[in-house]
């Protein structure tokens, strides 16, 4: 009997938590049309996007370089090192760009969002805003949400572009693949609609999920130091798992059926 009660309580807790998350998202999305929030959103784009730029550019560069190095050693055995360009570009645009950006973003910006909002809640800043008849959803949550939704696809694009240049650096400048075949085979293989646009769509979905989880975990955290630490950990773990799971579903939908 106790067991069933436990299961029921757990299920109800999960469901109400999903409900609260949906309500918060709803509030954040429909808080967009106020013009006063635009400077706040720009400020958040700086915190969430610009400050993640360094880690994104460095990882993109190195992932592109490593892929060119690994791909070259395998492809050169078949005399197909000219296909290095398409290999690097397609893996970056379709998978690594959106996914690695989302994982890094969850660690770099998502955890910070959770901790910030959680601490605001713990120090009763959110309640004070409410006391002053300022909607915290509108003032605190919405700018962060929109900033995340804009920043992550932008970062993913930068990641892919830098990665392709990094692949060029190693493949062409160091290992001696022909520069013409690197670009021209890439151009004849990569399709704007299928590869580039689908990559942006993927990263938009990841942006929604990661930012949503990060903000909700902060907004819904237990307002103690322990609660904030738990919420921050959960943000990184949950959003990474969600990104990896969703990536499989999206890949199957976008590229699985030819």
């Amino acid at each position: 009997m106790n067991f069933f009660q436990q299961v029921g309580a757990n299920t109800l807790a999960r469901l109400t938590s999903i409900g609260r998350a949906a309500l918060m998202l709803f509030g954040a999305i429909f808080a967009m049309p106020s013009l006063k929030n635009i400077p706040l959103t720009i400020r958040q784009v700086y915190v969430v996007g610009v400050q993640s730029l360094l880690i994104i550019v460095v990882s993109g560069l190195f992932i592109g370089m490593v892929m060119a190095l690994q791909g070259y050693t395998i492809l050169v055995g078949y005399g197909a090192e000219g296909s290095l360009g398409p290999m690097v570009a397609l893996s970056l645009l379709r998978e690594l760009g959106p996914v690695v950006t989302a994982l890094l973003f969850a660690g770099r910006a998502g955890s910070a969002l959770t901790a910030e909002i959680g601490l605001m809640k713990a120090t009763e800043q959110l309640s004070s805003l409410e006391m002053m008849a300022v909607d915290p959803l509108r003032r605190v949550v919405a700018p962060r949400f929109w900033a995340g939704l804009f920043s992550m696809p932008a970062l993913a694009m930068i990641f892919s572009a830098v990665g392709i240049l990094g692949g060029h650096l190693v493949g062409v400048d160091w290992l001696g693949v022909d520069s013409g075949s690197y670009w021209s085979l890439m151009q004849s293989t990569v399709e704007l609609q299928k590869d580039v646009i689908n990559g942006v769509l993927k990263s938009l979905v990841f942006a929604l999920v990661v930012t949503w989880i990060a903000i909700f975990k902060g907004y819904d955290s237990v307002p103690t130091s322990e609660g904030i630490s738990k919420a921050t950990t959960e943000t990184v773990v949950f959003s990474s798992l969600a990104v990896l799971g969703l990536d499989f579903v999206l890949t199957a939908l976008m590229f699985g059926i030819e």
Partner: protein
Amino acid sequence: MNKHKTELMVGVFVVLTVAAVLLLALKVANQTMTSSGDTYQLYAKFDNIGGLKERSAVKVGGVTIGRVTDIHLDKEDYTPVVTLSISTDYEGFPETSSVSILTSGLLGEQYVGFQPGFSFDGIEELKDGDYLQDTKSALVLEDLIGQFLFNRGGNDSKNDD
């Protein structure tokens, strides 16, 4: 001052993003530049198209002049009909031109090799919507091996006699 700097950095971020998107769209995908040109359609019936796909190249002497835009089966005689979209930069091929399905390299992808025919009096130029009469099908490796083995088998039995 601090706010000014924030806006500046966000501006740099946005410009970087636009640059990345432009690089990906124009330099990497290169779609908008090539497909914007005007094309005209030619049709060719083949017995067997092998591994030809939509978007395969149409080449004259190695120069790409167009792409395969559609492949479907003729409902009446059940032969594959391939639609070739040729750039209007290359017009006026004589109607004696022939097309064959070739393979780039031993394992490479297949493309349509376009062989311009001779033009003399009474031979018209190919226009939009024309059918190419002279077509050569794809070389299917399995058929070739099958034929080879069959011939070998035939020869061996003759020698035994």
